[in-house]
Symmetry: D2
Subunit: 327 residues, 4 copies
Amino acid sequence: MSEEQYRHEIAHLARIELHTPDPDGTLWFFKDLLGMYETQREGQSVYLRGYEDPYQWSLKITEGPVARMDHAALRTTSPEALERRVRSLQDGNYEGTWHEDEFGYGKTYEFITPDGHQMNLLWEAEKYRAPEELRSKILSRPSKKPLQGLPIKRIDHLNLLASDVTPVKDSFERHLRLRTNERVVDGEVEAGVWMSSSQLSHDVAVMRDARGAQGRLHHVAFYYGVQQHTVDAAEMFRDYDITIEAGPDRHGITQSSFLYVFEPGGNRIELFGDPGMLILEPDFETRTWTMDQIDTGTAIGGTNLPQETYFTYGTPPVDPDPDEDAQ
Amino acid sequence: MSEEQYRHEIAHLARIELHTPDPDGTLWFFKDLLGMYETQREGQSVYLRGYEDPYQWSLKITEGPVARMDHAALRTTSPEALERRVRSLQDGNYEGTWHEDEFGYGKTYEFITPDGHQMNLLWEAEKYRAPEELRSKILSRPSKKPLQGLPIKRIDHLNLLASDVTPVKDSFERHLRLRTNERVVDGEVEAGVWMSSSQLSHDVAVMRDARGAQGRLHHVAFYYGVQQHTVDAAEMFRDYDITIEAGPDRHGITQSSFLYVFEPGGNRIELFGDPGMLILEPDFETRTWTMDQIDTGTAIGGTNLPQETYFTYGTPPVDPDPDEDAQ
Amino acid sequence: MSEEQYRHEIAHLARIELHTPDPDGTLWFFKDLLGMYETQREGQSVYLRGYEDPYQWSLKITEGPVARMDHAALRTTSPEALERRVRSLQDGNYEGTWHEDEFGYGKTYEFITPDGHQMNLLWEAEKYRAPEELRSKILSRPSKKPLQGLPIKRIDHLNLLASDVTPVKDSFERHLRLRTNERVVDGEVEAGVWMSSSQLSHDVAVMRDARGAQGRLHHVAFYYGVQQHTVDAAEMFRDYDITIEAGPDRHGITQSSFLYVFEPGGNRIELFGDPGMLILEPDFETRTWTMDQIDTGTAIGGTNLPQETYFTYGTPPVDPDPDEDAQ
Amino acid sequence: MSEEQYRHEIAHLARIELHTPDPDGTLWFFKDLLGMYETQREGQSVYLRGYEDPYQWSLKITEGPVARMDHAALRTTSPEALERRVRSLQDGNYEGTWHEDEFGYGKTYEFITPDGHQMNLLWEAEKYRAPEELRSKILSRPSKKPLQGLPIKRIDHLNLLASDVTPVKDSFERHLRLRTNERVVDGEVEAGVWMSSSQLSHDVAVMRDARGAQGRLHHVAFYYGVQQHTVDAAEMFRDYDITIEAGPDRHGITQSSFLYVFEPGGNRIELFGDPGMLILEPDFETRTWTMDQIDTGTAIGGTNLPQETYFTYGTPPVDPDPDEDAQ
């Protein structure tokens, strides 16, 4: 069977590890404000999950000198899909490595994107089983919605900055079999791509790094499922001194509702309301936005994404640019 | 490659044909209240699409002596998937037929479920291309949201009544490779199943027909994407004399928001707010609800689904039962 | 100046005292689930306020042998209005008494309605001043929205059961100068009235007690301000074992969004989403609903208010009726 | 009785007359997009009402050379209140005039604010009576919600620009007995005031005109009652080429949800979601925002009100400023 046949190899974003120079602040943000459950502590790391995350954790917070993404992991749709994707990467001369040392997950293949992001692929993931007191009457829900803060349901998607978008996109298309649902072109240059192999508008996005840096994180998104909750969250963030960068509003690209904030460690976090467009057509055609259409693309409402941060700030921050003053 | 490998063969519900004894009323319901666009008229039939339906039509209304579903069609994820599914059906002694006579769609395989419902499988579907004045600035949207009524986005899912749920479920699992996400059991008997091969909580559901009839339609659902719109719709239906059966509320099963009404011809229609649970895990385990859990299963809020209609009324209606007085 | 001139004498419902046989359960309900702040404890009583209640407390929970309302207090629009209302009551031979013994409130006039409910009128109310850490950046907000449960903003309105609605209504119209915004008539009998002198659809409602008892409480309502929060609350109540009686849905009468539950002590509590109709016309004409219109009156959506509880259960419960099985 | 006693003399904003150089565009905006009913045409004017406006009209559109407010009218709480307010204005040397020439309204007193806005006071207003086919089952609703566009319920409030805010505020406090609920001060200067005598956060606001012009309109607001509808409206405006200035978001001042657009004639229109804060306390204390708090004051979410238009553009536009490029 040819690679063409493999249209649904990546199931979803399973987890991310973030580094933070302010672990107390970062944990307060995710636990007290966003209602994530702590499932494990080991060394300098704390493992968290939202009440609908299916596995032991979706977010690992590790103390470190600088805010950044350590790695993100995609789960494949089957063990065979994992083998196929690794073989494809190896055929493409990606020098990845296998390891199996993370709490709650099994054998994992780690590789580096053409722009320097550490990505993981895995199949083996331990399902979270709630103790009696956290069990929900809603059987599809792995645990009760907590009474703390404005709880997010689960991790949603990843948005990477890249010095050059196209090679990252090409590698994701070729080796992970992700589909490019939407893209922004600035003349001949790809300025952003939104990719999935599922019905989500995107599991991974890649946007051009206006600072030209390599391998940075733009944001990771957590899912509410209800747009009103992004409005509620904005009010909470405002009163609890979390900097709101933009939103709540709705992107034209992906049609999803967004709210961007900076967690106390400095990583940009998106709160994701309803999922926006679900892609039911199996042969969805890539939509290409040009710069004259970008206003609708960035926001359907009145939001102007702030130039001074949105397109330049990522983690790890890069220094000596006098123009940058994120947060 | 074994059948085990084919986990994502059915993309989504593409279209349904409903018969109605009151075509004027039915068209007023779908066009004036639900804002569907008319794309074609032929003989006794009118073809309609929601503003985000990707193809020429998702709903065909045909004048007929009695309210019922004529057929529903699922689109496969590839042309090869269509061939595989047809082969499987044929191997299973389903005597289906190929035809190619519907506006906007190509070669279609028609077969009958073990309970008598006419189902179609197809790959070839003509994408809808909006004329200039209906083109949306939101590039992933096939046409502008109209200014008429409370427009639904698109068709969502199908719910069939069956005299015996299990054989229908078995055939959908085996031949269509649908996954049973949730089921209700009443002792040893399967009372309902919710199936998909995608991230939707269900593309097709099958529920036990309390009247024991065969091959009936429980409802077809149309998608708003926003729960508030089911609240708005309830108000519209109330004031425009459309009978509301139940909702707006949220099912525990599927976690989706619902509103059930009867269109003037007599078919039950669901208005579907947000999608509820999206199933990202590729190895999602079937949840089984028992009758002592059914309260949460049927509604998270205070709704009691009306016994006298919800579990007994379907189309075509079956007559001489003094207990039944739907609408 | 004649009484006719005094159209706006009652400002709003300021507070209520509820008795509960299960003080721990009741406090868990109001503090952990509904996010109310505790501001005082004295003897068998705990004083609570929502984050937008302007005074020291809006809800006093007192341990007692049976669930019931001890009293409710309306604040007048001025000190002079209080004097006028008391004079009118006294002229009407209501034998009230002045007292001044409640935490956070001053001189209060207590009287008994024709059906036996204890009502209070007052002007003097101490404004709540938040300590630094609870101060909100939103200056009109007396305190930060807490991170606990699904916090209600404030108390909203009171709904009384009466063996005979009309004398209570008459006394409220005559002596409190409340306006009857809407009423339900069952033949010649008034079955319910919704009254305010403000722009709210009602500060006080009175409904016929189907059990014929006197002086009971139907419910007290707390305000969210956003309909989605009643949906969120229903999910919370479902998973945390609070019995939902009806809703979320919207009444035709008052156009307000409702959710009815029983707190663990047994009192019925309404969670009130958006306020529904605001009455801006100063000469709003009373709307009278007849029994053939009552379906829309009770709910715009599909809710059927449960006959076995909604029209018969109140607190204190009345016993030996075999038909009653509330909760 | 002293003036101090008259705390509730103005009931609400009843109507506004706007001039437009593009009457076809303006009528398309209010009728096709915002679902207002036309109730009358006379000469160059068309009279419109939202489906919950209680009178014959709330908006009169008149063709004219330049976009501007012709006048706005407040309804008093009683005929006596009208007499008192007129007497107070006359005592304050306002040279107003009585007239009685508007469709659907009676005797009206017209006066000019210290900054030059034409304001009307009136009591006599003819209630709208819907013909049978427009009658709603919801008895408090004067007419059915139409099936056209995203229908607003009714007019809500008025926001005036003034070269000097304080004299206008003083006159409204003294002569109309409006209460200043919130204000913004820039050093010693009042930059904005939000006033009502009701439970609404404001019936009238006055903001400093950064262009120093006199007697201009900032915006008139129409009410949805549901925040989601401002999100829906933003999407409609985006796709139907109406310029969105800012929002949807929520102001800290008034806590209300906003969306600002320019109707085709050039007047700024606000779509108002839920009412935000309702002021139940009769002795609500004026909140004063200083410039260091203004971020939260202008928006709780991430909106930055656009400096180049929001604080400078009003109607009628004032010309020769090269910086101004509204729309």
